[in-house]
Amino acid sequence: MTVSEWPKQAVSWFDERLPVFTFMQHELNEYPTPRNLSYWWNFGSLAGIVLVVMIATGIVLAMHYTPHVDMAYDSIEQRIMRDVNYGWLMRYVHLNGASMFFLLVYIHLFRGLYYGSYKAPREVLWWLGIILLLLMMMTAFMGYVLPWGQMSFWAATVITNLFSAIPLIGDQIVTWLWGGFAVGNPTLNRFYSLHYLMPFVIVGVVMLHLVALHMHGSNNPLGIDRKEERDSIPFHPYYTIKDALGLGVFFIVFAVFVFFAPNFLGEAENYVRANPFQTPAEIVPDWYFLPYYAILRSITFDIWFIPAKLIGVTAMFGSLMLLFALPWLDTSKVRSARFRPIYKQVYWVFVVDCLVLGWVGANRPEGHILIIGQVATAYYFLHFLVLMPLIGWFEKPRPLPDSISKAVLERPAPPAEAGTGGAE
């Protein structure tokens, strides 16, 4: 036996006892992937990498942070930002990483909406994605409370108070969430405990998300199933290299924020110590919550005996819950919007609607902004509850290609696709 054979022997010795190498070979090296994935398929793996970055920076931050109402603010503003070696870097990466995470996942989600990735047989994969989004929101919200600035305190107050809208037991639930009679030290402590826990729950759900993905493999820009051998290529090296390129580009964007505009996405008010006796003039959440906040604040009217507050809270949660039903609300058999002339237009109207909601959420709900918010909220629900079922029913889809390889190999030039910039 030559020396060079040792590693190979060691690998197979280990693999017979714990098949990690077989597993990696199978899931990465051989894993057959549609040959036509565009860069829109990079965002899932990018999100996964940001998750790792968040956990790494978070663990270091936790070594210097003090979860107490009298000390939390200083442990961040003084100790971590000024005294701890590279503490500023850890914090700014963690802070902007949260924004980047949401940006990537929103793109990832809208990719799914465009290419119909939520349709059979990927419904459970889609559900797991929504669960990931919900878990991310909980994590981000609780993390935002930890610095104990004015926005931390008042965001915690407003959001926990949403639960008081629940009939009969609402107030008890809020007291229970607080561990007191207002947001205070017990609240901060439990949020810290959960903020540390949740990312690991997310890791677990990401695993399930990937298991579900690997059952049927990725969807693709054409939205048709793979039929021939040559429709697929092995994941490695083709998509590992494509993911790596995307990662490089993404890290540049990330670094620009961290090093040149670390507070651009944040709220100046959170650099003011929390004061439970003074509400800031304007309470606004971080950008990734703005559309939901707009929906919440658009409901200013009671319906029969149901108070506006309860309707607003229900509409806000409902806006996300609707996504679970999307695979059935969308009645079209065709996945990709590329072959759905009407849905393709409506899709972009919906994207604009979400951006409008985000803009409304950043402004005081008064005068014409309130009206725009109400119209945009109504349209949001109209899109899912009326347009999706109806369009699938009367739209006449364009003819689907026979197979992926026929479409990408035998056609002289791929069809021009307005706006999505799919680079295949």
Partner: protein, 191 residues
């Protein structure tokens, strides 16, 4: 007990007569054990849930005494009770009259002024907007007091009247009245 042993002994080799009876008995035992386990598990969850409720040290801070003598007529002060602000107002006769007159107005959360103030000249309320928990303005001079001269919540625009009742805006309820008791003419215990 002996019963079980007997039947399982006769049922075990798959005897046609004892088999069926053995199965139902086993099913019953399985069901009963599972149900018992489930109830036990449900009870075991309660300490975890209840541990998140306000603890004894938090509850211990839950009553305060306030000296009312320095508060002039028409003046409003804020005291801290259980981590939350409590508004105390020494109302003028004009304010009391305005509040009483509005008893008959079209109220969102109907309540008589006399049910909101044990002594009409002292209005004592938790200063937390019943919409989403902001602190309404109006305690300090110069702050907006809303259309009814009471309090105004800037977060989403709720107006409260001189009795702290919600009159306009998204808040569903009047400002809450804490439990309180006058220990003397000038000392009140809240909580």
């Amino acid at each position: 007990m002996s019963d079980t042993v007997e039947s399982s002994a006769s049922g075990a080799p798959g005897a046609a007569d004892g088999g069926e009876e053995g199965e139902t008995r086993r099913d019953f035992l399985l069901l009963a054990t599972t149900a018992f386990g489930a109830v036990g598990a449900a009870f075991a969850i309660w300490p975890f849930v209840d541990s998140m409720n306000p603890s004894a040290d938090v509850l211990a801070l839950s009553s305060i005494e306030v000296d009312l003598s320095p508060i002039a007529k028409g003046q409003r002060i804020t005291v801290k009770w259980r981590g939350a602000p409590v508004f105390i107002e020494h109302r003028t006769q004009a304010q009391i009259d305005a509040a009483r007159k509005d008893d008959k107005a079209d109220l969102i959360d109907p309540q008589l002024d006399k049910d909101r103030a044990k002594r009409p000249e002292w209005l004592i309320m938790v200063g937390i907007c019943t919409h989403l928990g902001c602190i309404p303005l109006g305690q300090k001079s110069g702050q907006p007091k809303g259309e009814w001269g009471g309090w105004f919540c800037p977060c989403h625009g709720s107006h409260y009247d001189t009795s702290g009742r919600i009159r306009k805006g998204p808040a569903p309820k009047n400002l809450p009245i804490p439990e309180y008791e006058f220990l003397s003419d000038t000392v009140v215990r809240i909580g």
